[in-house]
C-alpha cells in the first residue's frame, strides 16, 4: 500500500463478539507492523461519541478500526464526519445493515462473508433464496449467518444419517470437521465459534465493492480513502 500505514486506533463496542474480533485483529496489526495509538471501549447505549472521537483526532492514526455492531455506530460515524476526523482508512467490521443506508459509510472499508458476485458451495441456492425473499444482502446483517446455520444443519443431518438430536450434535462437535458454505469451507473452533473467511469491501458511490482478496475482488480499493482526507 502506498503510502504505507504505520499506526492504528481501535474503537471497540463493549460486547463479547466485538471484543473478540478486536483481540484477534490486534495480532494481525502487530504482524503488519502497525503501532497501536489507543483503544477506546464504548457501551452500546452511547450516543455522544465526542469524547472518543477527540481522543482519536489527537492521536492522528493512519487507520481507525471500529469493532462494533452496525446500529450503535451510526452516530459514531456521523459525529466522526462532523468533527472532520482524518485517516488513510476507517474500517468497520459490520459496515452494512443499519449503516448501509448512511451516506457517512462512503469510503469506509468493511467485511462481508459472501457477496452475490462470489461463487462457492450453495452459492446458487443463496442467490435463489435472496431473490425469492426479495432481500438485499447488504441491508440485513444476519442473512448470511442464518443461511449458513441452516446449511450446516442440513450437512450435519446428512452426515448423521438421521434426524436424531444426539447424532446430529455429535457430528457438529467432531473435531476438525469441515463444513461448506457460500464463500468457501470452514471449521468450528474448540469453543464452537465458526472460523469463516471474510472478504474486504469498500463503499464506493453508495455500493459495496469487494476489494480483497484479489482473486475475488470486484473492484479496486481507493487508498488512502478519499472521504477521510
Amino acid at each position: 500500500m502506498n503510502p504505507k500505514p504505520n499506526s492504528i486506533f481501535w474503537i471497540v463496542q463493549d460486547n463479547l463478539v466485538t471484543k473478540a474480533v478486536h483481540e484477534t485483529n490486534i495480532q494481525y496489526a502487530e504482524k503488519a507492523g502497525l503501532k497501536t495509538l489507543g483503544t477506546e471501549v464504548f457501551a452500546g447505549a452511547t450516543r455522544n461519541f465526542q469524547g472518543p472521537i477527540l481522543k482519536v483526532r489527537a492521536a492522528q492514526p493512519d487507520i481507525i478500526f471500529i469493532s462494533s455492531f452496525d446500529a450503535v455506530s451510526v452516530p459514531l460515524l456521523q459525529q466522526m464526519r462532523q468533527l472532520q476526523v482524518k485517516a488513510m482508512d476507517v474500517h468497520h467490521i459490520m459496515a452494512n445493515g443499519s449503516l448501509a443506508r448512511q451516506a457517512d459509510l462512503e469510503g469506509v472499508t468493511g467485511e462481508v462473508y459472501w457477496h452475490e458476485a462470489l461463487g462457492g458451495p450453495y452459492s446458487e441456492l443463496a442467490r435463489e433464496v435472496l431473490k425469492a425473499a426479495d432481500i438485499k444482502l447488504f441491508d440485513y446483517l444476519w442473512t448470511m449467518g442464518r443461511m449458513d446455520a441452516y446449511l450446516v444443519m442440513i450437512q450435519a443431518i446428512e452426515r448423521a444419517g438421521a434426524v436424531d438430536r444426539e447424532k446430529v450434535a455429535a457430528e457438529l462437535r467432531k473435531p476438525g470437521a469441515t463444513w461448506k458454505r457460500p464463500g468457501g469451507e470452514f471449521q468450528f473452533s474448540e469453543g464452537g465459534l465458526s472460523q469463516i473467511v471474510s472478504f474486504t469491501h469498500q463503499m464506493q458511490k453508495g455500493e459495496p465493492v469487494v476489494v480483497w482478496p484479489p482473486e475475488h475482488a470486484t473492484g479496486k480499493m481507493i487508498w488512502p480513502s478519499s472521504t477521510w482526507k
Binding site: E40, R47, Q50, P52, K55, V74, Q82, S98
Partner: protein
C-alpha cells in the same frame, strides 16, 4: 485543552438539552396528573421512527413532520389517559399506583413490538445535509444548531404556555390545590387529560429533534425514560427550569466522563446519579414546585 473542553461542552449541552425535552413531558405529567408514565421514552422512539420514515418516504421538512406529529401524539396521549389511566383512579391508592405502572409498562411493550412489526426493529435516523462552522478549532454542525434552536424554542414555548396562558394557569392551580381549582371552575379531570396529551405531544417534537443526530429503534425508549426520571429527580419533580439544568448537567457529565474516564461508563452515569441523589438529596437539588 480549552478547545477540547468547549467541544465536549457543546456535545454535552446538545444531548442534555434533548434529555431535558424528554423529561419536560414526564415531569409535567407526573407533577399534574400523578401518572408515572414508563412508556414516555418509547413515545419518543416511536415519534423518531415515524419522523425518519416520513422523511425517507416524502422528504418532508423536519419542522413540518413535527407539526404533523404534534396533534397525533396529543390525541394518543388524551386517549391513553381517558381509556387506560383515568379508570385506575377509581381504585384505592395502592392499586392505582401499581395499576399505572402495569398499564404504562404494558403499553411500552405493546407499542414497541407494534412499531418493530410495522417499521422493522433496526435503528433509523434523519440525516440532513451537513455544513460545519469551525471557529478556533471548535466545530459546530448545522444539524447541531438546528437542534439547539429547537430545544431553545420548545423550552421557551413551554415556559410561555405554562406562565402566560389559561391552560398554564389551570395546570398550576390543579397541581397546587386540586379541590380549590375545582371550586373555582377548573375541570381537574380535563386538565389531567390535557396535560398527559400535551406531555405526549412535547415528546413527539423531542423525538423529531433527537433523530436528527441520534438513531432510535423501537426498543430504546425505556433507557431514555430512566434518564428522564434521573433528570426530574435531580431537578425536582414538576420543576421545568430544574429539569433543563439537570438535563444539561447529565449530558455534559456524560461527555466529560467519555473523554476523561471512559466512554464505557458514560451511559451508566445516569443510574449512578439517580442512586446518589435518591440517597443524599431525596428532594432533588432544585426541588421547587414550579408548575
Amino acid at each position: 485543552m480549552t478547545t477540547i473542553l468547549i467541544q465536549l461542552l457543546i456535545g454535552g449541552i446538545l444531548l442534555g438539552g434533548l434529555y431535558a425535552l424528554i423529561a419536560f413531558g414526564l415531569s409535567l405529567i407526573y407533577g399534574v396528573a400523578r401518572v408515572l408514565n414508563f412508556a414516555h421514552g418509547t413515545l419518543l422512539a416511536i415519534a423518531g421512527i415515524a419522523a425518519s420514515l416520513m422523511f425517507a418516504a416524502w422528504g418532508l421538512n423536519p419542522i413540518l413532520i413535527a407539526a404533523l406529529l404534534f396533534p397525533i401524539f396529543f390525541g394518543f396521549g388524551w386517549l391513553m389517559y381517558v381509556y387506560l389511566l383515568d379508570p385506575l383512579k377509581k381504585r384505592n391508592s395502592m392499586q392505582a399506583t401499581v395499576g399505572t405502572v402495569l398499564v404504562t409498562v404494558g403499553l411500552l411493550l405493546i407499542i414497541s413490538d407494534l412499531a418493530a412489526q410495522i417499521a422493522g426493529p433496526t435503528s433509523v435516523n434523519i440525516r440532513l445535509p451537513v455544513d460545519v462552522f469551525i471557529l478556533q478549532g471548535i466545530i459546530v454542525s448545522t444539524t447541531d444548531l438546528y437542534i439547539l434552536l429547537g430545544i431553545a424554542a420548545l423550552t421557551l414555548a413551554l415556559h410561555l404556555i405554562l406562565t402566560r396562558t389559561w391552560f398554564g394557569l389551570a395546570v398550576r392551580s390543579v397541581t397546587q390545590d386540586s379541590t380549590g381549582a375545582r371550586i373555582c371552575g377548573v375541570r381537574a379531570g380535563a386538565i389531567h387529560a390535557a396535560t398527559v396529551a400535551f406531555g405526549s405531544a412535547i415528546v413527539a417534537i423531542a423525538g423529531v429533534l433527537y433523530v436528527l443526530n441520534y438513531p432510535v429503534n423501537p426498543y430504546e425508549g425505556f433507557g431514555l425514560t430512566v434518564k428522564a426520571f434521573t433528570i426530574i429527580i435531580l431537578g425536582g419533580i414538576g420543576n421545568l427550569p430544574g429539569a433543563l439544568l439537570a438535563g444539561i448537567f447529565l449530558g455534559v457529565a456524560e461527555a466529560l466522563t467519555g473523554f476523561f474516564w471512559s466512554s464505557d461508563w458514560a451511559p451508566g452515569l445516569s443510574i449512578i446519579l439517580l442512586l446518589v441523589i435518591l440517597i443524599v438529596f431525596p428532594q432533588g437539588f432544585l426541588s421547587r414546585r414550579a408548575t
